[in-house]
Amino acid sequence: MNINTIVSLAVNGISMGMIYALMAMGLILLIRAIGVMNFAQGDLLMFGAFITCWLTVDLKLPLWAMIPLSIVCFVVVGIIFMFTAYWPLRNASYPAATVISTMGAAMALKEIATLIWGSLPRSMPPLMKNPATGKVAVLKIGSITIQWQFILTIIVGSVFIYLVFVLFDKLYAGRMMQAAAQDKYAAELLGIPTILTTMATYVIVVALASTGGYMIAPIFMVSNTLGTLQLRAFAGVVIGGFGNIKGAILGSLLIGVVEAFSTIQFSQYKDAVVFLVLIVFLLVRPQGLFGEKIADKA
């Protein structure tokens, strides 16, 4: 267990943690804004991966054209997803109904991706190419080699985390969205167009998840089974604590690192280790890292 392994495992763990964090933030936004637990989060990531793969590989767009176009696609997907899986159910009497409709949306997304792009996994050229060898760009520090793709993921992840914080703490739009999230009825009385804020929330959530998809597309194969990554984002959200984004991000990073280091001893039990950590965490601090006991009002 020399230093090389520890560093490369840590870097891989943190970069995967960033992917889970992007999804976890989306989950928290939806839980707080709309009270919905989104079971299609992983499939939104998969859809994002397919869209970016389609734009770069099939249409061969250069980077500066691909990014704006993919953002447009994310917006469209977000709005369609909202008006199919959530809007008709927004005042459903039965809370479980909205959750289960996201499960239906998850299956539908998988199949739509298969129908459009075929069921065979597709590979995507690496984002950061070493100009000389044409292979994947690698950062060498002493004897430690780290792929630039992981570092890029970490950078992009932190940029998005910062953007979400700025949106919700500094910008008026963010405060409007939070108001609509706290109490839709009161927000409407104050003239906040809740339909717009909900759409904005969904678009942000889809953009976050799809960026995650874009980051891992070159590392993994783009296939319709990418959705299973969402289970680790769930774990991150729970460890993070009730509905707060800081906790969800730290929880996801913790899950990513635990997952990477668990491959050392029992690699085939990797899933079990990640979720045992989750359940042990629940025993010790049911309200999570940052959550505090919230007593409901009578």
Binding site: L120, S123, V136, F220
Partner: protein
């Protein structure tokens, strides 16, 4: 409020008809679901049945839809090629060969359903089972109950071991290909202290155990820390690869299905691992080479099949497959082709195309039969194949280096 309820009601009717299918996608034949006792719907009719007195039906189970669709295409094409060749040469004992297909999709429940369905067709005399070992094991009790000879598509050594006289394998079983893998790694690639990266599903664990035993016989002990298991749909191999990269191993033996193989090639290439690497037959498969692209180059593999085969029967099959489907053939296609040929040989020995028991016993008499994939001889563990090819991937092609024999 009234109209809302009306819409709800009409939705209910449509819903019950359409929605709510269970996630285990069903088996699917081209014909509607027939009650099992009648004859199998004729899925593919060969040329006119003139000149034949009656017919014999052979069943084929393949993953026609779902994530393993590409493998399914090879099985269907290989079977239809066998159908064309056999009927062109006068059928079996003068009877026209007919095929019926069942779709095993991509999970165990559907696969067992498909095999149970095909066994129950009254006129199916024998059939080619699932290409995945766990499914063949699951269906073997039904095969024993129905007393119908099954050619298993999987290669796990646990399939025939269940003492079921009706289960046969034309592909090399893991225990023997484990020996070949160990022999090729030590003699051809000169690996002294290998790391083993294996998939934890039944095929992977079976082949890993056999390879480790074979290596022990050759005096090489693989410590637990150099063994890395991964779940079949694993995507993130980077942590394991970086551990291999920083450990003292001088070679890598990789075992897994086609999909993980492609991802492993890509991620190892990205990590810049340069130690000699040999994989199980998936690493020579067209699926892996197409998806991994250039990153699959340099990988050796002990494979059941490669298009650049140098044996005569192999060359003729590869050429005929290319001419008919203008695409390269792959292991699943040649495996089903050879199984049907072995079935034809057994029928000729037993001089019957109806008596399952006689055909099953006739399979015991097959000796040195030159098939496309290998030369086949009966052995107690019901595995016919006697050799595999050693290949190396060079600029997208799995070129053949030699054959590795067991007996």
């Amino acid at each position: 409020m009234k109209t809302r309820r009306l819409i709800a009601f009409t939705m209910a009717i449509a819903m019950t008809a359409l929605a709510g299918c269970s996630t285990t996608a069903p088996t699917q034949t081209q014909a509607p679901a027939s009650a099992s006792s009648e004859a199998a719907p004729q899925a593919s009719t060969g040329n006119a049945s003139a000149g034949f007195d009656g017919s014999v039906t052979f069943g084929v189970v393949a993953p026609i839809t779902g994530t393993n669709k590409m493998v399914g295409e090879y099985v269907v094409n290989g079977a239809k090629l066998a159908l064309k060749d056999i009927n062109a040469a006068g059928g079996i004992n003068g009877k026209e060969l007919k095929l019926v297909f069942e779709d095993e999709v991509d999970n165990q429940q559907a696969s067992v359903n498909a095999m149970v369905k095909i066994m129950n067709y009254s006129d199916v005399v024998s059939f080619f089972g699932s290409t995945y070992s766990a499914n063949c094991i699951a269906a073997s009790p039904n095969v024993l109950e129905k007393k119908i000879p099954m050619f298993a598509g999987g290669s796990s050594a646990n399939i025939p071991k269940k003492g079921n006289p009706y289960v046969w394998q034309d592909r090399m079983t893991d225990d023997q290909s484990g020996v070949l893998l160990a022999k090729a790694a030590t003699e051809n690639l000169k690996i002294k202290n290998p790391a083993i990266l294996y998939s934890t599903e039944s095929f992977g664990t079976g082949l890993r155990d056999q390879t480790i035993n074979a290596l022990k016989a050759l005096g090489i002990v693989v410590p637990e820390k150099n063994q890395y298991g991964f779940v079949n749909d694993e995507k993130n191999f980077a942590p394991m690869i970086s551990q291999i990269q920083n450990s003292d191993v001088d070679g890598l033996i990789a075992i897994g299905n086609q999909m993980p193989a492609a991802v492993i090639c890509q991620q190892i290439d990205a990590a810049g691992l340069t130690i000699p690497m040999i994989g199980s037959s998936s690493w020579a498969s067209a699926v892996c080479r197409q998806n991994a692209g250039a990153s699959a180059d340099g990988w050796y593999a002990v494979a059941d099949w490669t298009v650049e085969v140098s044996t005569d029967e192999g060359k003729t099959f590869a050429k005929e497959y290319k001419d008919t489907y203008n695409a390269d053939s792959d292991m699943p296609a040649v495996a089903v082709y050879d199984s049907i040929m072995l079935f034809k040989k057994a029928c000729e020995i037993a001089k019957t195309t109806a008596d399952k028991e006689a055909i099953n016993n006739a399979l015991k008499e097959i000796k040195d039969y030159k098939g496309a994939m290998s030369t086949y001889t009966y052995s107690e563990n019901h595995c016919f194949s006697t050799s595999q090819f050693l290949t190396v991937n060079k600029d997208g092609l799995a070129t053949m280096v030699g054959t590795v024999k067991t007996r």
